[in-house]
Point group: C2
Chain length 192, copies 2
């Protein structure tokens, strides 16, 4: 195996195990020794690939965010109508964020570990980006009223984040459907 291959393999293994452990136990509860033991390397390897523990988390978060962003975009793009794209994208985000593993990394530890500012930048670069883009298009097309986009985007983003967190712990089997219904009503109210 070449050195580049070996390097890539180790890095991926570190990311895999980190993600698994961070998702399962939370950033603070996971020690670096746990991670390197699970991978079968030492801390030397870890610090060769990442500057510190937060850099490792950053890489994991970027991976998670990109996955969610892709899922949202893919679902939205499947719809031909702009409005339907918007609604489908929102529902897709809610569904994707329902995974507790995604939540712990993306919604719980993300802001606490990196600080809200950097976390926001991550979100803006991936899933939230699609939201503002969609809102912009809908306003340009005259489908929803012309208004400042940023406040609306944050209200909607926060609504979906929190709803997703709640869904994960809700015992009610109809909760997802109820939430999607409430969200849809909320979105519908934006149409002119």
């Amino acid at each position: 195996m070449s050195r580049a291959e070996q390097r890539e393999q180790t890095r991926r293994a570190l990311l895999r195990e980190s993600r698994r452990l961070f998702a399962a136990e939370g950033y603070g509860a996971v020690g670096l020794s746990q991670i390197v033991n699970a991978v079968g390397v030492t801390k030397g390897a870890l610090y060769h690939h990442f500057d510190d523990k937060t850099a490792l988390f950053r890489a994991v978060l970027a991976q998670v965010q990109e996955e969610v962003g892709r899922r949202v975009a893919a679902t939205a793009d499947a719809e031909p109508d702009p409005w339907d794209q918007f609604v489908a994208g929102c529902h897709a985000f809610l569904t994707a964020s329902a995974d507790p593993a995604i939540q712990r990394i993306m919604l719980i530890d993300g802001p606490a570990v990196l600080g809200w500012n950097e976390w926001r930048a991550f979100d803006e670069a991936t899933s939230a980006r699609h939201l503002t883009d969609a809102l912009t298009r809908l306003i340009e097309a005259g489908i929803i009223a012309r208004q400042p986009i940023a406040p609306l985007a944050h209200l909607l983003s926060g609504a979906m984040n929190e709803a997703a967190l709640w869904l994960a712990t809700s015992a009610d089997p109809g909760a997802l459907a109820d939430t999607k219904a409430a969200l849809t009503r909320m979105l519908e109210s934006l149409r002119t």
Copy 2:
């Protein structure tokens, strides 16, 4: 000074400095030695009053939550009309949560330190409680459509939390007004 007085005084001082430091630097970045040095006691005192670091944070969070809850309730109760109470309460929460010190403790570190479940329980006991109560009254009064309350409450709660976080870092001076306007439109859409 009696022993009970001394005890109470030390406890309050620990809570004061903890809250200050947690708000300023974040839970993870604050060491217990920082806190006890600032107060002028030792770790012995701290561990005499609190089981561990998370218990200290819990006490601080409870204090913050109760303050916010009181402010929201007070503002809402000043309005005679149920619908106006609802809107005023939401705006009051947004205003109260605009304080970065409140945010760091209540919205950023809260879920990460205690886990989302326990954090939810705290929120439910204070500020979110007022939201569900208000929604229940509005539905009973026929002012908004009859629908599951919990999903709606979480959507709104999340929307306001995220909006507040965004407002704190937004340089735009009109952001608060824009956000309140967008929130008001969102709330208005609930009316039958």
